[in-house]
């Protein structure tokens, strides 16, 4: 859950962001409190608070006095935007490096991607999982 | 002030150390003495050393008050001053209780003429020469003195180590023997005994108090820089 070698507060923020992006945490819904996050991950509440504060600074969460933290409207779209912008850097970059090492050019890469994208995969659909 | 009183309560939380064990030792020594007296077929005055037992135990309590309770008091965030005063107060209270028991015991003993056996445990003529109050003071000071000697010796040990404690005790021993030697040389034994006799129990008790004050002050001075 919590990785070594990276600041915990960043990982907390990323966890909340991931929940917003995959829809499990809806916009205008109440976000987990600092203490809940701290208890769940078994971390210092101040660290959890730092992660939440980061999200408030970025406009992903906002505070309703006396009640708690809520997901801002439009947060999901903004997060998706940011991830799209980083997509090339985070995923395509390493992909190209490995492809280069294996001697695969852009055309071959495109073919592989197209093939994979249309075939059913067990990791993203639940049909493949037998109880 | 309240933290000092809380130190007294702390010392007395475990009733064993300051109350039950001294009483058990006293009761045991008393019973044993009476049993021995009953066995002796003489009608003469019988005196044993049994009544000393609880006093020696008070010396042990004094030692343990420092070696075991002091480190714990530090963990309880108690200042050395509060610990010292509270512990001394506890020792005074329990010494007073012990003295009271000795006085009552002595009165009963006298009234029964040595438990009907001419056997004496609490009552010694020269201690009771000034009456019950004098005897009470004497026993009080004696118990407290045993305590403070144990406490003082333990502070020396804690602060300076066993080497220095030995040096000091040996030094005191040497002084004592030296004093005996000087008295002998000056042929002053008679004068010494007379002095003791004229002091009486009350007088000796007062000298004892002076010694207690000196040892208490010395213990506190040492305690101030002792680590648990």
């Amino acid at each position: 859950m919590i990785e070594e070698g990276r600041p915990i507060f960043l990982q907390i923020a990323e966890g909340v962001e991931a929940a917003i992006v995959d829809g499990s945490l809806a916009e205008e819904a109440q976000a987990p409190s600092t203490n809940e996050l701290a208890a769940f991950h078994r971390i210092n509440p101040a660290t959890a608070a730092k992660g939440v504060a980061l999200l408030v600074d970025q406009g992903v969460l906002y505070k309703k006095r006396g009640i708690g933290m809520f997901v801002a409207s439009g947060a999901r779209e903004r997060l998706l935007e940011a991830r799209r912008a980083a997509f090339a850097e985070r995923y395509i970059g390493p992909l190209l490096v490995e492809a280069h090492a294996l001697g695969l050019g852009p055309d071959e890469l495109s073919a592989i991607i197209r093939e994979r994208a249309t075939a059913p995969t067990t990791s993203t659909t639940s049909e493949g999982i037998t109880p | 002030m309240s933290r000092t009183l809380n130190v007294v309560r702390m010392q007395l939380i475990n009733k064993q150390t300051y109350i039950w064990i001294p009483l058990i030792i006293l009761a045991g020594a008393f019973a044993l003495s009476l049993a021995v007296y009953a066995i002796i077929p003489s009608d003469g005055v019988k005196i044993g050393g049994g009544s000393q037992a609880p006093l020696w135990y008070f010396g042990v309590v004094g030692v343990q008050a420092l070696t075991l309770t002091f480190p714990f008091s530090q963990a309880m965030s108690v200042t050395r001053r509060a610990f010292f005063l509270g512990t001394l107060l506890t020792a005074a209270i329990t010494s007073a209780i012990l003295a009271a028991i000795f006085v009552v015991g002595g009165l009963v003993e006298k009234a029964t003429n040595g438990w009907g056996m001419n056997g004496w445990f609490f009552w010694l003529d020269w201690i009771w020469a000034s009456g019950a109050l004098g005897a009470g003071l004497f026993y009080f000071v004696l118990a407290l003195m045993f305590f403070i000697v144990g406490f003082w010796a333990a502070t020396i040990y804690k602060r300076f180590g066993s080497l220095w404690l030995t040096v000091i005790l040996v030094g005191l021993g040497v002084l004592f023997v030296g004093a005996l030697f000087v008295i002998g040389r000056l042929d002053a034994w008679a004068a010494v005994f007379t002095w003791f006799a004229t002091q009486g129990a009350v007088g000796l008790a007062l000298w004892g108090l002076a010694l207690i004050v000196v040892l208490a002050a010395a213990s506190f001075g040492t305690l101030r820089r002792a680590t648990p």
């Binding site: 919590i2 990785e3 070594e4 070698g5 990276r6 600041p7 915990i8 507060f9 960043l10 203490n35 701290a38 208890a39 991950h41 078994r42 971390i43 210092n44 509440p45 101040a46 660290t47 730092k50 850097e89 970059g93 390493p94 490096v97 090492a101 | 933290r3 809380n6 309560r9 702390m10 939380i13 475990n14 064993q16 150390t17 343990q64 075991l68 309770t69 480190p71 714990f72 530090q74 963990a75 309880m76 965030s77 108690v78 200042t79 050395r80 001053r81 509060a82 101030r224 820089r225 680590t227 648990p228």
Partner: protein, 302 residues
């Protein structure tokens, strides 16, 4: 930011050795600190001096702005139960807790009772007859239930098994969330407590070699693994605190956050980047400080 403890030029010299060597630091209010270091590094000595149980040779200590020595006002707001705490002879855990109740103004008996149940502590067994773990539990319970404004835990969980240690960490965090206070936790089990502590204070051979926010330190190093020539090319000019090699493969711990450009470079060179746990970082920094000389280590991390 208010400082509840301020230490300046603190030195403790024994006849044979210097236990604490000209140390400066400040402890901020209501944070959980990890005081980390090897056995004999000076952790217990520092904590003893802060609580006036031991005395400095030189330097000043201010707790709540005052000298703690014989200062009942200040001392009653602190709690320091040490690793091998002595208890009065024949005392029962019951007596220890009753006494704690007398002296700690914030003592909470309900909390203590819950902890006693959780640690399964036998209340009527003499303390001197308790197992090592049970003895530690007594100290831990006193430290937690005292709710003292500054609480020191000096490796009090030695002897506690993994389950009991987890109980301690969980209760500490829980109670800290409800009743914030300053907590200083000394330990050599760094990875176990790394998620709990907000700040890291590392002491080695009597000197402070690290005084940082934990999250800052977590990103401070990386492990680079791969062909040794490529590794050395990358690490040239960087702070290396650890190096291992097996044949042509080298594993190097490098200080300094990696930029995106760095990661690009590493990918291109076919090198693997791995995270460095807090424990590894501190251990390697300490070892490195030991061999490279103090001046270098001080400059690197402070």
């Amino acid at each position: 930011m208010s400082h509840v403890i301020e230490v300046s030029h603190l030195t403790k010299r024994y006849r044979e050795a210097v236990a604490v060597d000209d140390v400066d630091f400040a402890i901020q209010k209501d944070k959980i600190y990890g005081l980390l270091g090897r056995n004999g590094a000076g952790k217990t000595t520092v904590m003893s001096i802060l609580t006036a149980q031991n005395f400095a040779t030189r330097g000043t200590v201010r707790v709540f702005g005052e000298d703690p020595y014989e200062n009942a006002q200040v001392l009653s707001r602190m709690c320091f139960v040490r690793e091998s705490q002595k208890y009065p002879d024949d005392a029962l855990p019951l007596h220890a807790f009753r006494t704690a109740r007398l002296f700690f103004p914030n003592w909470n008996q309900d909390f203590a009772d819950r902890l006693i149940a959780e640690f399964q502590l036998p209340m009527k067994t003499r303390i001197k007859k308790l197992s090592r773990g049970q003895l530690s539990a007594v100290g831990v319970i006193i430290g937690l239930a005292s709710r003292a404004e500054i609480t020191f835990f000096d490796e009090p969980y030695l002897g506690l098994d993994a389950v009991a240690r987890q109980i301690f960490y969980d209760r500490l965090l829980e109670d800290y969330a409800e009743h914030p206070r300053t907590v200083i936790l000394s330990s050599h089990l760094i990875d176990e407590i790394s998620h709990l502590i907000e700040r890291v204070l590392v002491i080695d051979q009597g000197r402070i070699i690290m005084d940082e926010d934990t999250d800052t330190v977590r990103g401070l190093a990386a492990n680079i693994v791969g062909d040794s020539a490529a590794v050395d090319a990358f690490t040239d000019g960087r702070d290396v605190i650890h190096r291992e090699s097996l044949g042509r493969v080298a594993s190097v711990t490098v200080l300094g956050a990696l930029t995106d450009a760095d990661r690009e470079q590493l990918r291109a060179a076919g090198l693997d980047v791995g995270p460095v746990s807090l424990q590894q970082l501190i251990v390697r920094t300490t070892q490195h400080a030991g061999t490279a000389g103090e001046a270098h280590a001080e400059g690197v991390l402070r």
